[in-house]
Symmetry: D2
Subunit: 356 residues, 4 copies
């Protein structure tokens, strides 16, 4: 159940960092959708490593291949299997990690849970797993597009340096996926400095979904923010999520926090586009905190597979800051949740009285 | 799907604010558990309204009744239905809300979604719904107890006033569920002041689960923090959640954020007890931001059911600050997620090689 | 998971034979449906015991009460809790069964599974559990009605006596739910004869759903016949199910078995209205085999709770033939599966190209 | 949801008849299992076409490849992706079926449902889809083996010719998977005769699972027979299923049908190893009816994609009788259901009082 996501649009992912391939099977994609494979590939290219000195040096072409569910370029209603082969697997880099666990990483908890592990590059816990999410999320975006829904994320803080501007066009061209050129320059410096010290830094990513009509999401356990929050927290390294004004709402009064309603929708957006777990027509705004990469080139205390004290220092090809590479992944998870919510809502609508 | 929660331990809840009853059906509770009904009742009493001038004046005895699944005081493996009757329903209080929507409340989004609504006290969107969660969570706590797992929450901030101490014994006796007497006194003043102004305030609740062994939770989509986060965000008024150092991790370096591993477990707890989505043996620590109650006694802009501009001012019996009453609800949701994770882990263990 | 059924329309049932109440929670019922409670009650009356000498003498009024999800007679989108109180519980009748297991009954397997049991009247394994299914199924029928779908079952065989005619109007008035008056008379004689001998007989029930449009159901694991078959086999005492010509198809040639297609739909109906797991527009026809009631007034070999050999003879108020009382239950399960399929199909349709 | 199966052990399958590959992703396989790939391959070889003149002439090597979830030959707890490439795809054979639907086949209902179809060899509705089930089922068998559970099926009837003997060793070597050599010879003749006439025949397959301990399966909706029945009915061409004496039970008296209980388990097995939906320790016995292959070389009435009357005659490489090839598929589905039930039961057991 751990590797299957969604209710009506259901995604199963698979694959380890240094296995032959990773991929996803999407069940529940409506038929008749033109599957624009170039778009899927472009989305994958956005999270690919090896593109600048600010991210991991691992080089993967991340070519996606469709094994099923598409006929003459169009989805048929059958499950879609997407596979991405791995090329630049260098498990030898990880030999030193074979019998010791990286602090701050899932290495040890996986071992505690399963008693067996693929130690090569984190195995299933590797960030490489997210390529399958991005491929699946691209299909969700293709579903959402005709509904007028757009999902876009950007880095808004790295190493404590906050972006002031949030220019989407700037973010799209920025290696740090940041919409503020000036802040991005300072962030780059901070990342390089941390990298030089063998260390890493964290950041904050903001995702905004526009065009979601009122009425998506469900009350009680299926609240849209609950589902989005769970989806975003399922991304490795994400340790916090907030909607709208988030933690700042805890310090407001009701009279400040409430978004007045107008015939054209909410007049402000403290709530981040969701009230009572249901979209209110305003943009959906979520922010996630990303911890600094746990794999660092600094010696730390740890234990080995025998439970004995040990020291560890990792020299692999790691991202000194994972935040920019989480941007497309966060978009993918939000798109998957929204597409699922859209399909659920359509199921209701067919039987319901017209909303006034 | 919206009102069913969990995978192996599955809870379905039902009931509206001013309907005849609310309740929960728990499926998957293992047999042979002594169902201590007094404990369940005590948990319900903790979230009951009408207990001080700081919370809603609605008076409900919230007596829980067991309709099934228990025989001679012991669970049988059959589903357990818990029902809590409503007595002090005063729908007349809500007449003014019949055709207008409260800003900041789910009133309007429910209407936009369903086109039909029970306008009495928020219907299904009322905080009263959480009584069913607390009753179900009490049973989860009874399951977790013998495993040595304890779940306890407290208010750590209200109206911007932060608790310095976190004394559980103090919190247990505090009407504000706050473990810092001095801070609690200031919080009470802030609440009364907001109430006098017809306004409301928000706060922060921290939940800590101790005794969770390493190995609970699942990788990828079923991460323990993803499930806990989704569960906590499904509570009305919760708009943000963070684990361990949460948003502060975004500003740390890896060398600070990583918890060194020792033969006795993690030496620090920046991660909040979860790594790679799997518990690491340290206490699980989550914090949630609670927005100020949206129903306030101040006139606000809104729309009516015809979509026309209107003004609204709510005079019902509302909590000027909902944070203290969320304390047992947050505990309940965490207990439900953990009990489910425990059952999942046991299913794996029976087939697995012994962990060294 | 055992007591929750369905995907989009999800039903959780609860209750034991001699507990205070049984009931169901339905999640996913679309809003705006007029909930005709008299219809639900009439459906329950159809399966009520104590109505003739051919069924159990237990007398239950089986009054259904709605605890949630309905406002001013209309569904709101919130979960609907239906509760049916028990009155004529006479657990004392079952005292002799307290420490011995009835052969052919789930008494022993429940004990083997759970190690705890409510021995009063079979507890959760009692046929009384099906009242909750019938109540839930009635709501599914209310959903299907406006779509032109009708679900009707009748007894077509008891004690080896087969009905020749299948007159629905006759069946509706027959205490044996049989559409062939002449056969019904012979069935009644066979039942009385078995009863006089302390024994019981089995039978066959046929369910027909008319008006299902082509396109309901899903390929592969979610085939409509797989879902219907699983649903029907979940009814106690049902040990076999067949669709269309069923087992007889195994003896046909393809040229006989294939239903020719015409512009107005299939020209015959060997397939029972389902091809490739998807409805083909012809009536859906399913038959279930019902074993003779296991509780009989004849001494049999068994074991006691200590695993020691014992003898048992049950004198409670049992149905000498359960087939007629399964008629409304089979309809309910088929209606629940079809309503769920209808909702799933609508979710797809909203995104799909128009079918030529 | 249509292509995902199981609860704790969850399988997602994908792939079309003439696409590049078919496969399965298994989530929830416990770690530490030696994945004997040669065994998986042998199971696949059992359902492979092209092995005799009695089955389809299509030649596929059906080589299975593991893309994930296994490290150094052992499962890690990560999802296992199995892929089987297709070689002998000859879509050109199906050109005549491009715009006309085969009677008795899902061709038309898929079209009615989705409005888009992969017409090459039935696309997703092809029997080739079952290779993924067999591969997944092989892993379920590897899980069940150490628990002492064995699942074996054989053909017991073809074209109305019933096997008298059920010798498993004979069945294993028989091209018709039949345990009665003499009957098998007559069946072969009947198949060849039908084939010569361009026609097809049906049959009956019996699956027996031995070694299942008492206590697997769940009451109410999750009955073991409900789950097994649903799983078996999800196999294309299966139109009926019965457990134990099945339809014959409808003609027995309770005193005949009840299996007396002894300290060593049930003394007979009319119930087919399941009582009240829970295994009773006796062998689980299920039989499925398989309709004659719908694709025949005889002209039939049908419609074209424009809904106009047409004639069709199929000349592809079809099985004149699909029953023998369903043998490993039926075993796979039973093994998947049982492995899932085993995992569910273990989850309960860890928390339950010891069963006496």
């Amino acid at each position: 159940m751990s590797n299957v996501f969604g209710e009506i649009l259901r995604v199963a992912t698979f694959g380890e960092s240094h296995g032959p391939a990773i991929g996803a099977v999407l069940d529940g994609v409506p038929p008749g959708l033109h599957l624009d494979l170039r778009f899927v590939q472009r989305e994958l290219d956005r999270r690919r490593p090896g593109t600048s000195d600010l991210v991991s040096a691992r080089r993967e072409r991340d070519r996606v291949r469709v094994l099923s569910g598409v006929f003459e370029g169009v989805t048929t209603g059958a499950p879609i299997c997407l596979v991405i082969g791995s090329r630049d697997a260098r498990p030898v880099d990880y030999e030193p990690l074979r019998d010791r666990f990286r602090p701050g990483h899932g290495d040890w908890t996986w071992w505690a849970k399963y008693g067996v592990r693929d130690w090569r590059g984190g195995g299933r816990l590797s960030g490489r797993e997210t390529a399958a999410r991005v491929a699946a999320g691209a299909i969700a975006k293709l579903l959402l597009g005709p509904l007028g829904v757009d999902v876009a994320a950007q880095v808004i803080e790295i190493a404590g340096i906050a972006a002031v501007r949030r220019d989407a066009a700037v973010a799209a061209r920025s290696p740090l996926c940041c919409g503020d050129l000036r802040a991005a320059a300072r962030m780059a410096t901070a990342i390089r400095r941390a990298k030089a010290a063998g260390d890493s830094v964290g950041g904050i990513v903001e995702v905004v979904a526009t065009g979601v009509p009122p009425g998506w999401g469900d009350p009680v356990f299926g609240k849209l923010d609950a589902r989005l929050g769970g989806a975003l927290l399922s991304i490795g390294a994400v340790k916090a999520v907030e909607f709208g004004d988030g933690f700042a709402l805890a310090r407001m009064r009701g009279s400040e926090a409430n978004d007045p309603l107008t015939p054209r929708g909410p007049a402000s957006n403290h709530a981040g586009g969701i009230l009572g777990g249901i979209s209110d027509g305003a943009p959906i705004v979520a922010r996630v905190a990303i911890k600094p990469t746990s794999t660092i080139d600094i010696e730390q205390d740890t234990i080995d597979v025998g439970g004995r004290p040990a020291r560890i220092r990792a020299r692999g090809r790691h991202d000194p800051c994972i935040a920019p590479r989480i941007v497309p992944v966060a978009e993918a998870m939000v798109a998957l949740v929204l597409a699922d919510a859209a399909l659920r809502q359509e199921a209701l609508r067919a039987f319901s009285p017209p909303v006034p």
